[in-house]
Amino acid sequence: MPTVTIDDRIVEVPAGTNLIEAGQRVGIQIPHYCWHPRLSVVGQCRMCMVEIEGMPKLQTACSTQVVKDGMVVRTKTPAVLEAQRAIMEFLLINHPLDCPICDQAGECALQDYGFKHGQAFSRFRYEEKRTYPEKERVPLGPHVLLNMNRCIHCTRCVRFTQEISGTGEIGFFQRGARKEIGVFPGRPLDNPLSANVVDICPVGALTSTRFRFAERVWYLDKKPSLCTGCDVGCNVTIEHRRGRIRRYKPRLNPEVNDHWLCDFGRTTAERYDELPRLLAPRIRKDGTERAVSWREALDTTTQRLRARSNEGPLAFLGSGFLSSEEAFLLAALADAVDSPHRAIWVDSGPARRIPNPRGWIEGRDAAPNRRGAELAGLVPGKGGIDASELLVGDAAARCSFLFVADSDFGRAAHDPKVVERLRGAQFLVVMGWADTPLARVADIALPVATHAEREGTFVNVEGRLQRFSPAFPPPSQVREALSVLGELLARFRPELAGRSIAEVFADMAAQRPAFSGRRWEAIPATGTVLESIARVAPAAEG
C-alpha cells in the first residue's frame, strides 16, 4: 500500500484513498462540507484545500488520491489557513444570523469551522445579503423543511437523492449567487429515506419537521442502540434527555445501514411517548385492579403456574420485540414447567429497505428479533400450541395459564378480537412496557423496560447478531424483562438464580446451536453473522 506524509506524519493507506480519509487515519481533521464518504466527489465547497509539495496551487483534499509513495501534504501552512479563512468569510457574508433560532446550532459545521478556521468579525457591512424571499420554511416533503437562506450550496442533498435513494427529487436550480436547491412542483421529497438529507446537510438549511424546535442538541445525551421498526436492524444513536428519547440518529455500520436510517425507523422513537406506560405491577381480581409489589406479583404468578388445579395447557407467548436472551429465558421457563407451548407472534409490515456498500437490505417483519427469539428456543415443542392458534384460533380459552411477553405485539395488542381471545385463558399474565388494551385485561400486568432502557441482542434478517445498550434507566417500579424472567425461572430452577446477562448468553450459546461459540463480551460493534442461518431465507409470517 502506498504511503503519504501529512504534516510530517507518515501513513500507509490503500491505493485510491483521498487525503481527507488519509488524514483521518492519523487524527488530522481536514475541514470539508461537500465531501461525504458515500457520495460522488465534486470538489465544490473548496474548504478542504491543502498544500502538496511540488504543486504550485492548493489542491482539494477530497479529490486528491494517494496512488503511489512520495506525496507530501501540509494542512496548516499560511496559504492553507488563509484559504480556509477566505472560504469561511465567503460562506458567511450571505448567511443569516439565525443561530439563536436554528435547530442546527451545536452540531453545525458552519459554526464549528467558523470558530476554528474563520475570523471573528464581518467585513460585509454595507451590502444587502442575498436572500431567497419566501423560502425560509419550505416543506420539501413530509419530513424535511428547507430554509434556503441558510444553504451553503454543498449539493450533498442533491447527490443523495441522485445516488443513494435514486429518486432524484432535489434539483440544483439557477446559476451563480442565485443558485438554490428545490423540488419540482408536485413532486415533493417523498421517498422512504428522505430525512437522511437532514443528517447530511452540514447546516440548518434542511431540518427535520418532527424535531423542529424540539430540543437544543447540547442537552442531549447519546447512547448507541438499534432501531426496532423492522428486522433490518439499523444501528442508531438514541439521543435523549431526562429519560425521554428526543430523536434517533443513524449510527454508522457499513454492514447494515451504513450512514442511513429510513424515515419510518426515525418515527419509531416516538412510540414510547405515544402509548401509555405500565408503571407498576398490577393485579386485577374480581373486577378491581390494584398496584402491588413485585414480590406479590411474582408470588402470585408462581402459584398459578404451580396450581394443581391446572388442567389445561400452560402457554408462553412472546413477540419479535423480545431480545434473544429474554426469549431464551421465556423458553426455559416453559421447559421448567414441562410445557411445549412456546410461541412467538410477529406482525409483518411493508417492505423496508436500507442501502449499504454491498447493496440493499430488505426486511418484512414489523419487529427486530423474530429470528433471534426463534433461534433462542421460542418455538413450539412437540404438540405445542403455536401463535396463530392463540391469536386467531380459540386455543387460549383452553389454557389454564397464558404468559404473554411482551405486550407490544404491534397491531395485535390493540385488536379487540385478539384481546377477547387471549383473555379467555383462565389466568392471563401480560409482561410489557405499554399499557395496551391487552395489558388492561390481564390478571397480572408486569411492567418492564423498553429497549432504550435495557440491553440485549437482536438477530436481523441477514442473521446478523447485534448488541444494543441501555440509554437511561427505566422508571423506578419498572424492571428489566431479563431479571423478571430470571427470577421466575429461579423459582423452578434455583441453580439459575442471579445470572448476569453474560452468563445467560453463555447458557444460550451452550444450548442453542445457532449461538454456539459466541460470547457476550466479544460481539463486534458492527455485529456478527450467525453462519448457521445466514443462508436461510426468512419465512413469511403473520
Binding site: 473548496r46 449539493t155 439557477q174 446559476r175 449567487a177
Partner: protein
Amino acid sequence: MAFEKVLTRNVGHPEALGVRGYRDRGGYDALTRVLRMAPEEVVEEVKRSGLRGRGGAGFPCGMKWSFVPRQHPKPKYIVCNADESEPGTFKDRLLMENDPHQLLEGCVIAGWAVGANTTYIYIRGEYTKAARILEEAVRDAYASGVLGENVLGTGFRHDIHVHRGAGAYICGEETGLLESLEGRLGQPRVKPPFPAVVGAFGCPTVINNVETLCCVTHILQRGAEWFKGIGPDERNTGPKLYAISGHVERPGTYEYPLGITFRELLEGCGGMYKGRGLKAYIPGGASAPMLGVNDQEIPLAFDHLARAGSMLGSAAVIVMDETTCVVRATLRLSRFFAHESCGQCTPCREGTNWMAKILTRIESGKGTEADLDLLASVVPNVGGISLCALGDAAQGPVKSLLAKFGDEIRDNLRHGRYPLPRQRFFDPGAAS
C-alpha cells in the same frame, strides 16, 4: 501592414461555403495529405508548429493531442469549442459563417491524428445563423464524401454533429462544455482527470477552439515550418485573428501575424473613435487585465502580454477612450462574471457577487477609500482556490483597475466625484 490572409482568405468568397468552391480554392488538400500520413506524424507536425490554443488558455495544441492515450478501450471524441462568449470576441463567428469547411477540415484532421471518429461542434445557442451555415456545410460534406463512413475513399469514418448550447458563458470552459454536451448543468468538473483521458461521455476527448482547428488545416497544408515562421518567436507562432471593438473608428476582425502591437492594430482599424485619447484597453477579453496608454508597444502575443501582467486570451481587444469611467467599465465586467458564475464553488459564487456589490457602491458615489482596500483584499481569494478558471478570470479586471487606476480612484473618492457624468453616445440632436 500587408499580410497574406490565411484564416480569412475565403471571407468575401461565398463560393467557399460549398465543398466544390472550397476545393477550388485549395480546400481539403490538407485532409487528403493527412489521410496518407501516420497519425503520430500529424501530431508531431502540429507540435512542431508551436500552435497554441486560440480559445483563451493558449495551451500548446500538439501537446494536448499527445495526452490522448493511443490505445484505449473506449471511443475517442473531438469537441470543437464554438461557444465563443468571451466579451469582445467575435472571430470564431466570422470563421464559421464565412469558411465553415476550413473548420470541418481541421476537425477531421484532428480526428485522424488522435483516433477519433466523431466530432461534436458545441456552438453557443445564440449563433443561430452560424449553426445553420455549419449544418449546411456538414450536409454538403457528407454528400461529397468528405464525412461519413468513408472519408475521401480512405475507409476512415468520421461524423460531425453540430450541438447548440443554450446561453451560458461557463460552457466555454472545457469541462463545463462537456457537462452541457452531456445534457447537464454546465458546471465544470474537478480536474484531474483531464478530458484527454476522461472527457465526453467518460471517453478520451480533445477540445479545441474554432480558430485553433482552422490553424490545424493550414499547418497540415503548408507545414509546421511555414507556420512557425510567422510570429515573434518559436513559442508565439502563426497567423492570428484580432477582434477589436469599443472606441475605435472601424471595429472588426483583423488578421495579422501573431505579435503585432496595439498601436499597429489601432492604426489598422482607423484609430480612436472620433480621434479621442486613449484611456485604457483590454487586450484579450474580459478576463485580461487592463493596460493603459503606456502599454501600446507590447506585442500582442501570449508570452509578451503575460510578462506585461495581462494575457492574450481570445485576442479580443476592447478600447476605452478618455470619456470612459473605468470603474463603470470594470463594474460591468464584474457583473458579467457574477452573472455567468455557475455557482457551484464558494469563492466564485460568493466572491464575484461581493466584488460587484462593492464596485456598485463605489461607482454610485456611496463608496469610500476603505472599500478599495476591502476590494483589494477580497479579490485574491476569488481566484486561485476556485474550482475553475472563471474565478481566476474574474480577478483580472478588478486587479488591473486597482493597479492602473487606484490613485485616480482614490482621488475621485476623496473629492466625492462619483458617479462620474455619463457621456451619452448617441447625440440626440444628430440625424440617425
